[in-house]
């Protein structure tokens, strides 16, 4: 695996090949493996090693990027030339900033814990197979079929530029996702962590199996507005669709649901949201695509959208825009994507604050007269960008709750729900946990009990 010293040497070679005013190099390296199972069998089992360098050159307001996974001298020369050729033919952009300075980039409000664990990096195919074997045993014991993954990886991410900036991040990741299938029902659980020791695949398998068992013979109940109890993965997957709108460029582009709404109360009093790469349950590098250190930012305070996140260039543009007095504090926050790009920036380390009196899912069920317990949401897409109406389906464990008890499984629903409406109707919340779904990036979110969640149709299973 590439290390910072070798990457620094490669960057020096890149600089020697370049005629640009400024040069930046991003490095990404991974050594990953994923064991996939279905029908109680390991049916796919893969491993990958790859390392790329991505070179950005700049000539007086013109910039472009070229990327290669070949690190020999000839390839480095070629990738530098490719970047320069793309940059040189552009019309200068007067708003393009010089690359980030090394000294000004360090503005983190707290340290990021180590996210590299030897035990995770050292997991072998045999060890993954052993874990899958245990999951399959649980499925067979309950006369179920299981499908899922167990993956582990180590990765590096680094950035160097000709102003002396040099930053490096190493991390490990591990993930287990398990679906248990019965004749007409299913259950699902997923977890991930930089430290494989934090995963408990057997417990996840048991819970997924119980969900499959208890949702058997699902009954159809009519679509309509229900009180729902959304498990953390369901919350994560639906709320994730709004955070790309919290970037300053989304406002400048007028494509955000926060157009003319920053500073207003959009959600309930109980909604506080932060972006915090240093949170102990978060993951990822502590610097952004330009090498600026990520700040801890409160996005939402008691339901009021307080502020946005900014890349360096976006912050400068916002300060000179007609919106400057209506969007809260404006400064680079370390949330920019690598330049050049169309998206600007986004908060990617979301942490919801917990309530003063967190409720367990069992407590939420016990306080519900009529409602639906949702394990997971699926195929979520945006229907309306300003009212933030999203559509999608429930999946892998949907239950009817009556008089404080889970009564039976139900056929899956289609929802068309506004996030403004949903996050204004949260009656109870759990303790935030690190959750992982399939539609959004990982977050620290609580389970939520939400009134009047809008189910519009029922499917056939």
């Amino acid at each position: 695996m590439l290390d910072k010293n070798r990457a620094g040497d490669i960057f020096q070679r890149i600089r020697e090949h370049s005629t640009a005013d400024e040069v930046e190099a991003l490095f990404y390296g991974t050594n990953s493996a994923l064991t996939r199972f279905a029908n109680n069998t390991i049916h796919q089992n893969v491993a990958e090693e790859n390392c790329v360098v991505s070179v950005r050159t700049a000539f007086g307001g013109r910039t472009a990027r070229a990327t290669t996974n070949k690190l020999d001298d000839e390839s480095l020369k070629r990738v530098v030339q490719a970047s320069e050729n793309l940059a040189k033919v552009q019309h200068p952009d007067q708003e393009l900033l010089p690359m980030a300075d090394a000294d000004k980039s360090v503005r983190a409000t707290r340290a990021v814990p180590s996210r590299y664990f030897e035990q995770t990096a050292a997991i072998t195919p045999e060890q993954r197979a052993e874990v899958v074997g245990k999951i399959v045993s649980i499925a067979k014991k309950r006369d179920l079929t299981t499908a899922g993954i167990f993956s582990t990886s180590e990765s590096v991410e680094g950035i160097f530029n000709s102003r002396g900036l040099a930053d490096w991040h190493t991390q490990t990741s591990s993930e287990v996702s398990i679906t248990m299938l019965a004749a007409d029902s299913s259950g699902w659980q997923k977890a991930n962590s930089p430290n494989v020791a934090n995963l408990d695949p057997v417990a996840l398998a048991e819970l997924a199996a119980r969900k499959a068992f208890h949702s058997a013979a699902p009954r159809e109940i009519p679509a309509g507005k229900y009180t729902v109890i959304l498990e953390p993965a369901a919350v994560l997957d639906i709320v994730g669709f709004m955070f790309y709108d919290f970037g300053g460029l989304a406002i400048l582009d007028q494509r955000s649901f926060l157009n003319n709404r920053v500073g207003t109360k959009l959600f309930g009093d109980n909604i506080d949201i932060w972006d915090d790469v240093g949170h102990p349950l978060q993951s990822g590098a502590p610097f952004d695509g330009e090498g600026v250190r990520r700040q801890r930012v409160q996005l939402v305070d008691k339901g009021v959208v307080k502020r946005l996140v900014y890349a360096r260039g976006t912050a400068e543009r916002m300060k000179n825009s007609e919106h400057k007095d209506s969007v809260g504090p404006i400064e680079p926050t370390g949330h920019g994507f690598p330049l050049p790009n169309e998206m600007g920036e986004a908060p990617m380390n979301i942490v919801f604050s917990g309530p003063r009196e967190p409720r367990t899912i069992d407590q939420m069920i016990a306080s519900t007269e009529h409602g639906v317990l949702v394990t997971r949401l699926w195929y979520i897409r945006e229907v309306d960008p300003y009212e933030k109406i999203l559509t999608g389906m429930t999946r892998d464990g949907t239950f009817y709750v009556e008089d404080g008890k889970v009564r039976h499984g139900v056929r899956n629903f289609r929802f068309n729900e506004s996030l403004l409406h949903m996050l204004s109707n949260v009656e109870e919340m759990g303790t935030p946990v690190r959750a992982s779904g399939e539609e959004s990036f990982d977050m620290v979110v609580p389970a939520m009990k939400v009134r009047e969640f809008n189910f519009t149709e029922v499917t056939k299973f």
Binding site: T35, I42, Q44, E49, K225, Q254, T391
Partner: protein, 488 residues
């Protein structure tokens, strides 16, 4: 490259693999885009590496590396075998591969102009000209354009003797105008949403798309939508334009016919399928007018699913999927063919790159045009009361592919065979087989376009793949319209 692959196969055999294939791939891409008069992206990318797939002890293993030195290739092959042996610890049956005659072949997708030889400066100027046209319309608040090129070269070698060298070019381009006012954001895209039109062609596609000529109209439509009335709720006859019908095929035909989904192999992520094996040649999928094929052959057209051989060396084929409304075929691979009694794979195993295991993917899943001449305008003229919908805005379907909901960018109410008013926020929903059985008209060949869907996600780790969907405007009877906004 052939020597590298041969080296990998030798090591795999020595380590105990009963089957092995190696795929070296060299992938090059360029992405150009603009936004509101500025460069959004200007980037080149190249990726070269080897993926080795083996069967050992009756189970699969796969390893990939960017390091093409002799030692690294040997280590990658050995790693694949070790992984396969670990897989064998949790298996029910040994892998069976349908027989396939190994071939030696060369193929390059036809193109007139290599897009990588074209001027970056001129291409950016073209995008900026479109951007300027879009923003010349008062009320357009955001203009976005893009142009993308890709060249994929691969060398496939198998322990059975296959030796296939393929090169494929892809070109894509499009743009969108957004209009924000009051409390809504409207959008129009051309020629399609989410990056425009994509085909396995060279730069000649850019000229064929008539991008500049349509820009002002698209900007005007985006602004006009702000003042249009909202699409009503209820049951209506609807007419879908070809690009929307292409996505409808993708989601409600293309994915459910993937045999790996049907067999449960994707149950944890992409989902399964309502098309259980008992439905083959028994299910009435659609009306008599519905004829759909999965056709990877060059004669089908320059679709994103066109190739000469799939990524286990099986020649491109045309599989009838729906024949006069009857469900007649799945997308299959050498591993899965036996489950439907087929003696041979349907040739649909594809990988995103050298570092991904090939899995069953759509090729070009296309509806055949109507045999009687019928233009879109004639179809509208023959509709008494209905809604015409154009260009996808949102799409969602359940994990067995029964219940779907689509939103489109723009609608028109049709009364007495005429478009009488523009409608914003049109959407429709339904159950797959009920919907396809309600199709009562489809336009003829002149209206048929082979659309590209460039970003189809599937698999773990996820792979993004381009698929093709030929479609012509078609009409569906008594469809539920407007549920997307119901209750909101």
């Amino acid at each position: 490259m052939k020597d590298l692959a041969a080296q990998a196969l030798n090591v795999a055999a020595l380590r105990g693999a009963s089957y092995a294939d190696a795929r070296v791939a060299d992938d090059r891409s360029r992405a150009l885009s603009t936004k509101n008069g500025k460069i959004g992206s200007a980037s080149d990318s190249e990726s070269l590496g080897i993926g080795v797939r083996v069967i050992a002890d009756g189970a699969w293993g796969f390893a990939a590396s960017d390091d093409l030195t002799r030692a690294a290739v040997e280590a990658t092959a050995a790693r694949a075998v070790d992984i396969a042996k670990a897989s064998a610890r949790v298996k029910q049956h040994d892998i069976q591969l349908a027989p396939e005659q190994p071939v030696t072949a060369e193929w390059t997708s036809p193109f007139q102009i290599d897009p990588f030889t074209t001027s970056v400066e001129q291409n950016l100027d073209l995008l900026l000209k479109i951007d300027s046209e879009l923003r010349s319309v008062a009320g357009v608040t955001l203009a976005e354009t893009n142009m993308n090129f890709r060249r994929e070269e691969s060398w496939f070698t198998s322990s059975e003797g296959a030796n296939i060298h393929q090169t494929k070019y892809t070109t894509g381009a499009g743009y969108a105008a957004h209009a924000f006012a009051g409390s809504e954001i409207q959008k129009r895209s051309y020629p399609n949403s989410y990056g425009g039109q994509w085909q396995n062609k060279g730069y000649e596609l850019i000229g064929e798309l008539r991008l500049v000529e349509n820009a002002r109209r698209i900007g005007e439509e985006a602004v006009a939508l702000l003042k249009a009335e909202r699409c009503p709720e209820g049951a209506f006859d609807i007419i879908l334009d070809g690009s929307q019908l292409g996505l409808q095929i993708h989601e409600s035909v293309g994915h459910p016919i993937e045999l790996d989904r049907v067999l449960g192999m994707e149950a944890n992520f992409a989902g399964t399928s309502f098309l259980t094996l008992d439905k083959l040649r028994t299910l009435r999928y659609g009306s008599e007018l519905v004829n759909i094929v999965a056709d990877a052959r060059q004669e089908h057209g320059p679709g994103l699913g066109t190739f000469a051989f799939d990524e286990e060396g099986v020649p491109a084929q045309c599989t009838p999927i729906i024949t006069n409304g009857l469900f007649t075929g799945y997308l299959s691979s050498r591993e899965t063919a036996h489950t439907i009694g087929a003696s041979r794979s349907g040739g649909t195993l594809r990988a995103e790159g050298w570092n991904r295991l090939p899995i069953i993917r759509m090729t070009n899943v296309s509806i055949l045009p109507g045999e009687k001449p019928l233009t879109r305008e004639q179809l509208i003229a023959s509709t008494d009361h209905g809604i015409y919908m154009e260009t996808n805005r949102s799409w969602s379907i359940d994990d067995k592919r029964y219940n779907f909901q689509f939103g489109c960018e723009m609608g028109w109410e049709i009364k007495g065979g005429k478009r009488v008013r523009m409608l914003k926020n049109p959407s429709y929903s339904g159950i797959t087989t009920e919907f396809w059985n309600s199709m009562d008209a489809i336009c003829s060949r002149d209206e048929w376009v082979l659309w590209g869907v460039p970003h189809c996600g599937k698999g773990q780790p996820q792979q993004v793949m381009g698929t093709g969907h030929g479609a012509a405007p078609a009409r569906f009877h008594n469809v539920k319209v407007g549920s997307a906004y119901k209750g909101n």
